[in-house]
């Protein structure tokens, strides 16, 4: 036998295996890295309709009286949550730069305390970055006692830089029941103290 049997060369196998395993671990990490990456990309490119969750300043804004933008409001309550939640005005024609007050009505239809969290989303997504809220109930959680109701304020203005191609902005709120999560974290905090 002149040729050595092509037995696995343990050393070069080891090296290749470690590289491949490393590659696997890296890709597992990459899967999770997609989460912050997604958020950053969406925010930077302003593409998925998320509005800022901090209050904007209304300062040195000139109102563009020549332009009218329609703002529509829609609301949804997540499945099984016993609340009524609706905009009091469904549609407004506004000038970019104008500061607008509007309200939503929330009513707890059950006989226990429920904590709600509203999540906003603007459509078309590219408009989200130009929809500025100086005050919004969505910045906080809403605690509603059994069978009580509340008027939830929203103060916003549309940035005059809004691209010409956008004539209508639709602001959608989805309301989630976070009572259980609230209770859980309250208990945890209590235990910590």
């Amino acid at each position: 036998m002149q040729n050595q049997p092509n037995q696995p060369n343990i050393k070069s196998n080891r090296k290749l295996i470690s590289l491949l395993v490393l590659g696997c671990l890296a890709m597992f990490g990459f899967g999770f890295a997609l989460v912050p990456l997604y958020d950053v990309l969406c925010e930077k490119l302003g593409i998925n309709g998320k509005t800022s969750n901090t209050a904007s300043n209304y300062q040195a804004i000139t109102v563009d009286k020549n332009r009218v933008v329609t703002v529509e409001f829609i609301s949804q309550v997540s499945t099984g949550m016993p609340w009524k939640f609706e905009p009091q005005t469904k549609r407004l024609d506004v000038h970019p730069g104008e500061l607008i007050h509007t309200t939503f009505l929330a009513q707890n239809l059950s006989n226990r305390l429920i904590v709600g969290q509203a999540i906003p989303s603007v459509s078309p997504g590219q408009g989200a970055a130009y929809f500025n809220k100086t005050e919004c109930f969505c910045f906080n959680q809403q605690h509603l006692a059994a069978a009580s109701r509340a008027e939830l304020p929203l103060i916003f203005f549309v940035d005059p830089q809004l691209p010409e191609s956008i004539h209508t902005l639709t602001l959608s709120y989805t309301l989630y029941d976070i009572t259980d999560k609230q209770l859980a974290s309250a208990i945890e905090q209590g235990a910590a103290k």
Binding site: N3, P5, N6, Q126
Partner: protein, 530 residues
């Protein structure tokens, strides 16, 4: 060595390090041929199991209205059918073929990592037992589709979702181990003189597939892990209430999912590239372009995932980007189809069963590619998305594509595996029954989809009734036809005409230099590669 008869070799094996007898042979085996056989049988059992679920689906859809099963059970059937066929039937069949063939094709004695090979097979039955047993749990098994979109798999899923996640983890680990083994084998165990551009295309396509597996199976593992923690441990990756985003699930899933569909088709390309030249008695047309086409398909497959998400409200530039990238994939795919046809052109063709399946593959896979192109047109996809048109598309590429190529491979290499010729008469029966019924089954689905019938719903409006009846009849016929294959394989293992070392006149490759059946240990001395 080559002058020894087969019996002498067998006796030699028995004497030195032959296989232990009985069940322990299979449990403890580290032999690539044994493990290949295990994978192939496992895959066939899963094929029949998933097929039985498809029969439930088609029976329910035979008539409009709800006849046989509850909607929730129907959803479990569509989900588990998809999972079993993808992860239990197609992928293990390819791994089984890789085990059997790659060492023989590159002149290696075995796979490079035989003990890991044993593990990567033997964890699979556990994974599928877990998945199948979840169907019998209170609340039922997974019912959210094989794509397990959040929030269906998080907020609205049954408790058994934890089992689903666990079983996917195990399947993923198994595939990754298999992929590592394939890569190490191909890189380190090629016989002297077997240079890269001499590798048979099946080896090339599997090498590239293995890299795809390593790149995306971990991402799938991450996705199921996020579903698990969202559902049971209060994280909010995909829940808007906690700052997450359900659309992100689809991005992560399809980042895995689209390369995954190529994982299920690239080895097929390798198989067809072996069979078509053999029965055309001509060398493959355009070997190098086949290698480059495979590599470009693999790279492009990472840039097209969002063609599954055109209707999620992406910005227009993204829709266009993914539309054009998707259409670009059709170019290297077209190169392949062209090369196969050019190989047959003026060849001296004969149509034994492997060739019949290969030719059917070329035609029917191309139909699937065309419907894919239609789906890639963004505005058109708004109409087709989530209808039976999509179901027709992916069954053409997966059943008449991937599965037909696996059948072709089984017929082509059965004489090498068993040492007997299969019954050509039964093979022809199997082919013609399959190819007719599969088209009765899937072709009318295009029309159902264009007419607007949604997928994954147990009931439908009355105007779809006739076509659904035809589809169901095709489905039952296709299911039954596969039993012919089972009988044929069992007969071929038990006996039959003795197969020579090279039963197909036009075939090429090192595996045909070995006697049939291939000895338990092949190429303990590296062969001469010309």
């Amino acid at each position: 060595m080559s002058t020894l008869t087969q019996d002498q070799i067998a006796a030699h094996d028995e004497h030195h390090h032959g296989a232990p007898k009985g069940i322990m042979r299979w449990i403890l085996t580290t032999n690539h041929k044994d493990i290949g056989t295990l994978y192939l049988w496992f895959s066939f059992i899963m094929f029949l199991t998933g097929g039985a679920m498809a029969m439930v689906i088609r029976a329910e859809l035979f008539q409009p209205g709800l006849q046989l099963v509850e909607p929730n059970f129907f959803n479990q059937m569509t989900t588990v059918h998809g999972l079993i066929m993808v992860f239990g039937a197609v992928m293990p069949a390819f791994t089984g073929l890789a085990n059997w063939l790659i060492p023989m094709m590159i002149g290696a004695p075995d796979m490079a990592l035989p003990r890991m090979n044993n593990w990567s097979f033997w964890i699979l039955p556990f994974a599928f037992t877990i998945l199948l047993s979840s169907l019998f749990m209170e609340g039922g098994g997974p019912n959210f589709g094989w794509t397990f979109y959040a929030p269906l798999s998080t907020t609205y899923s049954p408790d058994s979702t934890a089992l689903f996640v666990f079983s996917i983890h195990i399947m993923g680990i198994s595939s990754i181990m298999g992929a590592i083994n394939v890569i190490v084998t191909i890189v380190n165990l090629r016989a002297p003189g077997m240079t890269w551009m001499k590798l048979p295309l099946f080896v090339w396509t599997w090498l590239i597939t293995a890299f795809l597996l390593i790149a995306v199976m971990p991402v799938l593992a991450g996705a199921v892990t996020m579903v698990l923690t969202d559902k049971f441990f209060g994280t909010s990756f995909f829940e808007a209430a906690g700052g997450g985003d359900p659309v992100m699930f689809q991005h992560i899933f399809w980042f895995f999912g689209h390369p995954e569909v190529y994982i299920m088709i690239l080895p097929s390309f390798g198989i067809i590239s072996a069979i078509v030249p053999a029965f055309s008695r001509k060398p493959l047309f355009g070997y190098a372009s086949m290698v480059y086409a495979t590599a470009s398909i693999a790279i492009l497959s990472f840039l097209v995932w969002a063609h599954h998400m055109f209707t999620t409200g992406m910005p227009v530039f993204a829709e266009l980007f993914f539309m054009y990238c998707t259409m670009l994939i059709a170019v290297p795919t077209g190169v392949k189809v062209f090369n196969w046809v050019a190989t047959m052109w003026r060849g001296s063709l004969s149509f034994e069963t492997p060739m019949l399946f290969a030719v059917a593959f070329i035609i029917l896979f191309t139909i699937g590619g065309f419907s894919g192109l239609m789906l890639a047109i963004t505005p058109a996809d708004f109409q087709y998305h989530d209808t039976y048109f999509v179901v027709a598309h992916f069954h053409y590429v997966l059943v008449t594509g991937a599965i037909f190529s696996i059948m072709a491979a089984a017929y082509y290499w059965l004489p090498k595996w068993t040492g007997h010729m299969y019954s050509e008469r039964l093979g022809q029966w199997h082919f013609w029954c399959s190819v007719i019924s599969v088209n009765v089954l899937f072709f009318p689905m295009h029309f159902l989809g264009l007419a607007g019938m949604p997928r994954r719903i147990p009931d439908y409006s009355i105007q779809f009734a006739d076509v659904n009846q035809i589809v169901s009849i095709g489905g039952f016929a296709f299911g039954l036809s596969q039993l012919i294959f089972l009988v044929l394989v069992i007969k071929c293992i038990r006996g039959g005409e003795k197969a020579p070392a090279k039963p197909w006149e036009g075939s090429e490759g090192l595996e045909w230099t070995l006697p049939s059946p291939a000895p338990y240990h092949s190429f303990t001395t590296p062969p001469e590669v010309k």
